[in-house]
């Protein structure tokens, strides 16, 4: 992959890895090498990510597509006198945009004009995955077809003749099995052989005459950001984004009104043209597959047998309802046993550090730095394990089944089937759950899931509520209050999700069309690559905010005199006391609520400090709470704590997943107001009843 390695080594005069690093940095700057943008496109479930990982050798940069919180992976590979800049596009079935992901992939191919497109095709279902190629062939960009999963096709008794296929559509086809690293080098050899100076010869789909007639009607030079003929075919196919582009051009005055009218009448007169376009593409696919594909025997995959259990309305659901909490719990437990140990050590070592370095430094290390580092380590481990489990389930094909079973219900509130696991995680830790929402397929469903999550009570909030209710009420009442409250939380979350899905505009993608991939053995390389990417993104985007946020919270609870009883936090709590008295809380409870911003678990600890009792003695804390607060006030506190803004970690992740503070702050403000309003209502209603 690095033919120039030796040369670079002599230049650098140091180790090979250093040379490789240098090569990475200088690649763009090396003169005489032409940079070639390669888009890796493919339908979902074709092994596109595996191919991308193999091509770039796991050394790629991850980030977001500009303005969208959708993953973008990019890697550079130097070969001969060319540097390939590979861009991994989100999976897309065709070039009509039905979701933000498909829109990104489409716009990149059509408007950003990559030099070459590597189209990944699944050999086990060639006829279906060639559809994207049929659409790509209508454009002028050179195409290399990566015919992946040849092994799976063989197992299913299908013989795909790559040479015949290549001859039929006149495009280079590389048969490969990316899982076993077969054919990867061949892709590069084919890329090397592509002549970028001359247009690639190909046998493309012959579109009906209506398309070229409509293309003539479009103004020239085109005011649309798309090639004319392509735009014409998409107008006929009713692509909302292209129609939007036409409307925008009309609004800007670039497009004349009479032209628009002509296009409009043409479209209304040729409604059948869309069917003709689709028909032609199908002919093209049939033509291509006629000689190249041969079904030797009809081996049914064992997936169908498994699906009888996993998609069963009763057993499938039971398994899913067991599998989802187990997956979520397992991830958190594994994380707690690894990274969590650092956090526990930091908490336990606190008093010792304080004893060793009395004064501000000791307190800063013991209460600020060490727990902050501990939290981040714990979160990294938990997020890593959770994603490892997610990607494992996704890779073996089970996540799609869970999605199938829960989709109907979750779609009603605007989330998707795959939101089930993040939502379950939300009951344990909001931070991890929000960071885990990238498994949800479309950006829109993800947005709804993210907005729902802060409303769900995490384990810390449930614990606080349990201590408060148990302190005041008999066990039975306390349990009823807790369960009732959690149900109300779920309702609030659903309402928030529903509200968002009603207000956010969306392409017409109502109704589920979902592929159920075959069950297959997991590829740990892909899983590991995904986990690495997620951890990297968390560290880059959220960890810093969490770290400094925790230090600031420590500072306001320490200064000016070095104890929480006189700190700025206390003064702020005092300042808020009038508001607190409206919901039956004195300043101590307000300070406890404020400090819960650090992490929900420490609310009780703060109260223990304020009541001057030992934090480990729950009986004493309960006693103190009992004496300090009325039952109505306790209820109001529990309600406030359940709906109050999420902890700092969640907020940092929330911002990184929503993309901006502009979207995050209204949500937090909404939650804050809701928490206060609900607490106010609860307090006054409870005062009347109790």
């Amino acid at each position: 992959m690095y033919p120039d390695e030796n040369k670079l080594e002599t230049e650098c005069g140091r180790c090979q890895s250093c040379a490789r690093e240098n090569a990475e940095k200088n690649i763009g700057a090396v003169t005489g090498k032409e940079e070639i943008a390669v888009a890796v496109a493919g339908q979902p479930n074709t092994g596109k990510s595996t191919i991308f990982n193999r091509l770039t050798g796991l050394n790629h940069k991850v980030g977001n597509w500009p303005g969208k919180t959708v993953d973008r992976k990019e890697g550079r590979v130097a070969r001969g006198d060319r540097v390939y800049r590979l861009v991994d596009l989100p999976g897309t079935y065709g070039l009509t945009a039905n979701s933000v992901e498909e829109e990104i992939a489409r716009d990149y191919i059509v408007s950003d004009d990559p030099d070459v497109v590597v189209a990944v095709v699944n050999a086990a279902s060639v006829e279906r995955s060639l559809y994207l190629v049929a659409e790509l062939a209508e454009l002028n960009t050179p195409i290399v077809i990566a015919l992946n999963m040849m092994d799976v096709a063989g197992q299913e008794g299908r013989i795909i003749n790559a040479r015949q296929l290549s001859a039929a559509i006149d495009l280079p086809v590389v048969p490969m099995t990316a899982l076993m690293n077969r054919g990867v080098d061949q892709v590069f050899k084919t890329l090397d052989a592509i002549d970028l100076q001359h247009p690639q010869k190909r046998n493309s789909v012959e579109l009906p005459s209506e398309v070229s007639r409509l293309a003539e009607l479009l103004d020239s030079p085109s005011s649309l950001p798309y090639p004319k003929k392509w735009a014409a075919s998409k107008l006929i196919e009713g692509d909302y984004k292209v129609i939007q582009a036409v409307k925008n051009a009309l609004k800007d005055g670039k497009w004349k009104d009479e032209k628009f009218k002509a296009v409009e009448t043409f479209l209304s007169e040729h409604k059948e043209a869309a069917k003709a376009i689709v028909g032609r593409r199908q002919q093209w696919i049939d033509e291509a597959c006629k000689k190249a594909v041969e079904d030797v025997k009809n081996c049914r995959s064992p997936s169908e047998k498994w699906d009888r259990v996993f998609l069963h309305p009763l057993w499938g659901r039971l398994i899913a309802f067991l599998a989802i909490p187990i997956a979520a719990l397992l991830g958190i437990l594994l994380g707690m046993f690894t990274g969590g140990q650092v956090l526990f050590a930091a908490m336990e070592g606190g008093p010792k550090i304080k004893a060793a370095w009395p004064g501000m430094i000791g307190s800063m290390v013991a209460d600020g730095l060490a727990p902050a580092l501990g939290w981040i380590t714990a979160l990294v481990c938990i997020i890593g394990f959770i994603y490892a489990i997610f990607y494992f389930l996704e890779d073996i094909g089970y996540l799609a089944r869970i999605s199938f079973l829960t989709d109907t219900f979750l779609r009603r509130i605007g989330a998707g089937g795959k939101s089930a696991i993040p939502l379950m995680l939300g009951l344990m830790c909001n931070t991890v759950a929000i960071a885990g929402t990238r498994v949800v397929e479309t950006r829109r469903q993800r947005l709804v899931t993210i907005v729902m999550l802060p409303f769900l009570p995490c384990a810390g909030q449930t614990m606080v509520a349990a201590i408060f209710t148990l302190a005041i009420f008999p066990v039975k009442t306390a349990i009823i209050i807790l369960i009732g409250l959690t149900i109300i939380n779920f309702l609030a979350a659903s309402l928030a999700g529903k509200f968002l899905s009603l207000t956010v505009p969306h392409p017409r993608t109502d109704g589920m069309i979902m592929e159920l991939p075959l069950f297959h053995r997991p590829n740990f390389r892909t899983i590991f690559g995904g986990v690495r990417m997620r951890i990297e993104l968390f560290l880059r985007r959220a960890a810093g905010v969490i770290f400094f946020g925790l230090l600031i919270i420590w500072a306001v609870s320490y200064f000016p005199k070095g104890e929480i009883q006189t700190s700025y936090l206390y003064q702020f709590g005092r300042f808020l006391e009038p508001a607190g008295s409206m919901i039956g809380l004195d300043w101590r409870f307000m300070v406890a609520l404020l400090s819960s911003f650090f992490a929900k678990e420490i609310t009780v600890g703060t109260l223990a400090v304020l009541f001057s009792v030992s934090a480990s003695d729950q009986q004493a804390i309960m006693q103190a709470i009992q004496n300090a607060i009325s039952p109505a006030g306790a209820l109001a506190f529990v309600v406030a704590s359940h709906f109050y803004i999420p902890c700092l970690g969640s907020m940092a992740v929330l911002k990184s997943e929503l993309g901006s503070w502009k979207k995050t702050l209204p949500l937090l403000a909404g939650m804050f107001i809701l928490a206060f309003a609900l607490a106010f209502i609860t307090y006054h209603a409870a005062k009347v009843i109790i």
């Binding site: 009713g238 692509d239 069917k275 199908q282």
Partner: protein, 212 residues
Amino acid sequence: MFNPGLPTVDGPPATAQGDSAPLSLQNALQSFIDQQPEGIASAAELDEMAYLPGNGVYRFAIKERFLEWYVEAKTGKMLKYGFDSNRFLMEKGMLGWVHPFVTRLVKTPFEFLFIFLAITGLYIVFYPRKKKKNRLRTGCLLDMAPGEKLSFMGVSEVTLMGRLAAVGLLPGVPIQMLRIRNRGPVVILVRHTCLALGRDIGARVMMSREAA
């Protein structure tokens, strides 16, 4: 722990109501001990002595051991005695011997389940009536039987046609119905790919009449 061989009791017995006043607790207890009741050695072991005015009886009980004796309030005659198996099962069953709270934990899901079952029961009764109205369409994907093979004809909306074409649902393509239920999405096999389609989409997909 519990006395073997004693009969089981099931609540207080019925007694004839009369005008005469009941015995005092002292007298009743005395008369109870005099009858040398089975399962108890001395009155000191009793941890409950209660007059049940509705039944006109005194109840003497050792709550801890779930033993009860009923004595007629007016005459002091022993009516019924034995082991209260009902209370025993309620309190010690369902892991109650570990802790009463554990019982609650075990029972609560079942209570929810019963509510759920009640609702589903009603739903099963009323749902078919509601559905019959919608079932008039013919020739759509939802009318296929599991295992049946037909070929895809098309959909009327342009945008949906594009979406379906991209996942392989093109005119003339054979479709095998894999699973279809009374509700929820359907699963079909199209060109070596399993697809799940929502019911609303399935209703819009037209199929050709001939078998593929």
